[in-house]
Assembly symmetry: D2
Homo-oligomer: 487 residues x 4
């Protein structure tokens, strides 16, 4: 079966596991489904592939999920069916191409504990070996997502109590998880001991709310209370909120990429303002790699704040040199008579009157494969830019993430396979500079409590060679699975 | 949890388990998906709730399923994705109201045996207790259908070989199953030792085809070879067809209701012509319960053949006194300003010029709750019928079926709770007669090899009191499960 | 432009005008939309291509229409928007392939008379020349249906009063029309002086109902009052019902094909029972063309009643030798690896146990192109039929209809281009006979008041050569129109 | 009929005519439909209610249109059906609530000139009186859009030649039109003599392209050639391009609101860069209404460029104090348990870490009703803003537009009914200032060639009282029309 790896990987690129997600949990709030809907709407940037909500009343769980964005998946009639005062919800990162509805979260199971639903943000780095072991012991799997092993471990736990069984299960998995779990009468929330992914607690009237980012609290009119701490296990029932720290204490390793690109700038992540850190990244970058120019522009929208910081620090005026279209739908029809740099054109256009004859600093947040940047540079050149200097507000991305961010494989990461000089040439720019690792940490206010392994390769938990290949194996599994669709 | 039974049963009638189904299996036929589609199209009368196909090529299984009729679920683009030369397919009985896509068959699992898909017609009478035991041992369930336990038993079997593991699993279940199971390279077919439900083998070019009824072979241009025998276990690979009888020999108990109502009249069922038996049922009924009248009519379409037999035997001319509409879709909008006997009117209309002033014998195949018959009688009376004599081509239906036919609960079966005299009055007819049990067996050519427990209560396999209540428990489980939908 | 005829006709066969339709009009009935919906549901056999309803309250008209069957087009939410106590509705004959939503009736216009909606069953034989004249005078057209010219003629009429303008318009068109027209406060109904197509009046509570056939009255719980008479013009307002006969008196020419095939057997058409006439057609046919045989069978469902009549008259028992599937949806996917006689197989299957070794009389209602019959004969032969005798309950169909029935062009009509002997050979039957023209008229109780031009070519209104070619021109127009679709 | 105005206007607010649109015309470009699709995709900001494309080959026109955004309406299969090398396309402004598919452009007609399709951006100010006159002469209307009268006038023109007839029709209408019109072999483009709305010409390979803005040329890889001049009439055939100026010469009155808000900043409008003018508006505003503050923020995305100009001129740093969500779909489900300022929250969120304790200048482009601004101010206050100063980069909007921009009625325009002091209080800000009229004109480089009637009430073409009420009448007509929908 492993002999087919290459072939399969080439064949079915689309079933690549992408685990970035937004999650929400709600307890004791009327119309919980409606608020869960608002919550994952605010977290839409964390995943556009699928959306799902499970609600609970005292009798049953009620689940609805579908492929697409939150407002596409949920219609009023569906939300009305999702009765109950507690809920969990999830949205999932968008892939290009088909994907499985069966993989849409929250997932749900029937077991000796009754009906349980779970929504998970992160990536379990030992999922593959646990899955193999479980299969050998007679477990059967319905989905291809790592999250499903938590259910199996819980169901097979010797513990009689569900809380204990969940803690038991979590103590066996490695990697990143921020999760919420729902039964008829209880809402659980947990964050892995390293605290890779964010999770916050809010208060709404007499109820409790959990969410990946504070922007979800804002839209629900809920008040931010505090972060769920790394390693914390929270159980919410009618009797109140219980907080436990059942796992061995670990160093914190919060994902620095959340600041750089992933989170919304109006959110607090790991208790800090995303906006502030991005602005500082731009300032540091300007100090580290100054260059004479007529203007600073950004690749909207993700790098705009860093560009503002760069502009403020350097005194070089900020302009919108590129405009971004927000109307791209799920499918876009490409004329067979090719348009040059078609993909980039659908998303961006340069503003000729701004850039013509100008020396331009383009601030971007990161370079993965470099293909889009190359097209944007060409677009700016065609519009008449005289000089183009690229400044990246993160160090070169050289290593895959095993903890929940979708970073291309090493083979595809341009910084993993090329020198900076080669990238400079490939992009056809006048200069190229990345923020230093130290600069980035300083901007983020790091106290040794972040994970920046995608830049350094220093994975905070031991991801040995065989475990890395496990990750490859997981991908292969998804390929093996073939097509799975429902109407 | 059991204390809520009544309440739940009332609340959520719609999640009632209805397990009648049509199944198809195909091996070594090009475009297997297209032929599977034709097969379940021909078996559409066995289930209109959902339809699904799984195909296999040497690398993977490919599955597509949806709610609705075969031609609603499958579009050309979907069938094209279902590549491979082998396939299994399934359609499921229509319920009124919402139902679970997750329960749509063929079901599929990932396990130590790789990807496996299974389609099942029947009802496992000890599913509930096995499920409870499996849950206690740590298994988790994704659906609420009994079929899923076969997967679990197989996965937990000590056998290394999949064939052995499947035989192992089947040896532990009781009740009715005709099933097909597919892996990347093998197609299995099996029928329970009692042979409750039908399953036939056909030949198409160099390939092998299985189907619930021969009408599915006809549409595929496949040739009927023989029935899969009760207790037979068949394994089809590229090396050929293997037939085993691994289970303890049992008396045959083929479902007599397939002849009376369920199967298509152009099919052979249990090696006999459904048309011939229905015609004989009408003849026997005429001999047993003659009455003077001007015409014989049927409740189209299911009782037409019995009515023709009754007419032929009695010499009383057959007429179409009722016409049936075939355009009813999945939802029908009822005016709030009620129309009398609305539901019956959507389906039937009486032909006044035929029935006015006439003495009429109405032949019907069975009476469950009696409500539709009562409305039809009123319609005929309103159209001017002078006398109405009902003749039923089966004995009074008094007992639920635990082997795969959806018969209402005893509480709802009018013959279980009322005397024939009371039914006579309720229907407001001039006379009412059911065929005798002996008459029915004679028409069916019974040699002690049929199950007629829905008329007698003599269940061929021991369905003890606690097992009967198990069945109730299963229903309750479905209620507990709450809503489960996908877009 | 006419030079392209052949090319275009070949290219775009699908835009062939097919004008059979069912219509409904309702005045002063609460929830008029719901009852209009029921009415066209009962008339579904008259057209499955599109369905539409327009309602009126005192302020405005409300329209909803779509492609497909009534239950596919209308959902509860849509019906709820169609407020008002009066309504007209329409469904249209199903064509194979794409068709225009813009042609869906009821059509609607804005003019000096305000908003008006109209639904029409029939075919205006001088539509093409009127349309050309109107275009030359500066009228613009939105659809390709003949019905639209009534609107233009009405709008251009010198009459100030809408009733007068409509009468004016109708006096200028030739051909067949049974129509209903709705404004905010008035419902009109009219039938052409020849009375080609049916239209009945019913009473529902305090309201008035019009429908193509009485079966639509039955489902609405409305009472049949009488037929709208040929040449009658009815105006219904709150003040009451006015009946006028404003057109020159003409001989009646009711369409005899409605009895033979088109109408529902539970309807009264032209004051007669369709069932009774079909039965008599079978009886006459049996007297005219007796043959020794073991059984009579029908091609279900349309010829079953004639077959029963044939069987009764001949004393040869009636059997169901063919079964018909009612599950065919709008699109059916054909395997590329062809199945013999695929199309017929989707719809029919022979019952081997019935026909094997038997001499069979197959009664059918008509032969158009003969292709389906040929496939059915082959199917019966393969099932073992010893002799096959075809009996047709109408004379040879040899001429197109210009008055609202979709009969293939002369080129395609097998009886127009072949002798009976040649058809006999083509069908590969042991004998073939058509009912005589006199026999048909006798069965229909004709008093010189029917149109049977499709059998004789004697068109009741002068359809001269150039007018016949006009009809061709109309078809060409539809081809010229190109594609017109909406999402 | 006019007596009902108030009632109707209140009842059916949603059928308000909103005529902003984007248009595209393509001639002699392979796959014209695909490029038309790209063109209206780039013009999506000009209308999100409906989208339509008509293509032409030598035989026929082919049309497809639907409600929604371009990528929602057009799927690959639909575009493939739209064959031909010429095309016109259109998208239409989004209204909240239902609207008519029948009003979707391009509209199409059949007439003595054959099939013609037309797409129009603008508003014909004498449409109502022409429509009434046409109705009185017997014309019938299918839609409620003013554009339809051009078809009628053309069809009724005495001219034999289509070009002449179109010029004839255009000479009779008053108001704003930029339009493209397509027949089987010719593409027309025209712009009204005042030049209210933009229209540009581009070159793509050997073909010609028209579009509302240059951003549509960019995405098609077409080169900007020049503007279609006010009063210019262009005819494109295989023989070449003809340019005529058939209408009486008029002063130019280009819409200044296109610069301020409507057009895309990467477009040239009326030969000028939208970006440059917006930036200058901000600069002028800063000079006119300076205030001490800590930061300048914008209400994204439309006022960002003016805010950058304000910031640059004032030296006060620009920050993103508000973030905007781009994921809002067509329907959004509001919890019944109200959230404060729900609507604004779905679209905007304030960034607390940015605004807390700060004195903020909020630059916005215009104030219509003021409701959204008020909510945004509250949001910023809640986030801790110390002072809030609003600066508007256009003068107070006080008058409706009769030339194609959707500005609320006078009753709803806050500046038409309140003093600036009152608005200041209503918005609860520390200061409020609008750019001066002169300042705006200076920024726009006006040479007396713009229309700014929405600020001054000086309509460039005589819109007398009765004509203004005509506009009201038109709206009423739309209300009268009732519901019109298709599935």
């Amino acid at each position: 079966m492993f002999a087919l790896i290459k072939k399969l990987l080439q064949r079915n690129k689309k079933y690549y596991p992408k685990e970035e997600c937004g999650i929400v949990g709600i307890f004791n709030v009327e119309e919980a489904a409606n608020f869960a809907y608002l919550g994952i709407y605010a977290l839409q940037h964390r995943g556009q592939e699928s959306a799902g909500i499970v609600t609970a009343n005292e009798f049953s769980l009620h689940r609805y999920a579908g492929m697409g964005k939150v407002t596409e998946v949920f219609k009023e009639s569906k939300l009305k069916q999702l009765i109950g005062n507690s809920a969990i919800a999830h949205n999932r990162y968008s892939t290009t191409g088909a994907s499985f509805l069966r993989n849409a979260q929250p997932i749900r199971m029937e077991s000796r504990f009754g009906s349980i639903a779970l929504a998970h943000n992160g990536n379990l780095s030992n999922a593959w070996s646990i899955r193999q072991q479980l299969e050998n012991e007679g477990s059967i799997f319905q989905s291809t997502i790592d999250t499903e092993i938590i259910f199996h471990l819980m169901a097979k736990s010797k513990e009689k109590d569900l809380s204990q069984a969940l803690m038991n299960a979590l103590s066996m998995v490695k990697g990143a998880y921020s999760l919420v779990m729902l039964t008829k009468d209880t809402l659980y929330a947990a964050r892995d001991p390293n605290g890779f992914r964010p999770l916050v607690i809010g208060k709404k009237d007499d109820g409790i709310v959990f969410a990946s980012e504070t922007c979800a609290l804002d839209i629900m009119d809920a008040e931010y209370v505090r972060d769920v701490e790394p390693g914390e296990f929270i159980k919410v029932t009618k009797s109140g909120v219980e907080s436990l720290f059942p796992f061995p204490k670990s160093k914190n390793n919060m994902c620095i990429f959340e600041y750089i690109y992933f989170a919304r700038p109006d959110s607090l992540i790991f208790k800090k303002s995303v906006y502030d850190i991005r602005y500082k990244l731009g300032q540091v970058l300007s100090r580290e790699f100054a260059v004479e120019a007529d203007m600073v522009i950004s690749v909207p929208d993700s790098s705009t704040i860093a560009a503002l910081g760069y502009s403020a620090e350097s005194g070089i005026p900020y302009h919108m040199g590129l405009i971004r279209s927000h109307y791209i739908g799920r499918t876009f029809i490409e004329p067979s008579q090719k348009i040059r740099d078609f993909g980039a054109k659908l998303k961006y256009n340069s503003i000729t009157s701004v850039v013509k004859g100008k020396r331009i600093i383009v601030v971007d947040d990161s370079i993965m494969r470099g293909t889009t940047q190359r097209k944007i540079i060409k677009m700016l050149r065609k519009a008449g830019a005289k000089e183009i200097h690229i400044r990246i507000s993160s160090p070169p991305t050289m290593f895959p993430c095993y903890f929940g961010i979708d970073i291309p494989t090493k083979r595809e990461l341009i910084a993993a396979t090329h020198t900076i000089e080669e990238i400079h040439k490939y992009l056809q720019v006048d200069s190229l500079a990345y923020i230093s690792h130290e600069g980035m940490l300083a901007a983020a206010g790091d106290e040794g409590d972040h994970c920046s392994a995608c830049f350094t390769g220093n994975y905070p938990i031991n991801v040995e060679d065989n475990q890395k290949s496990e990750y490859q194996n997981q991908k292969m599994l998804f390929d093996e699975y073939g097509i799975e669709e429902n109407s």
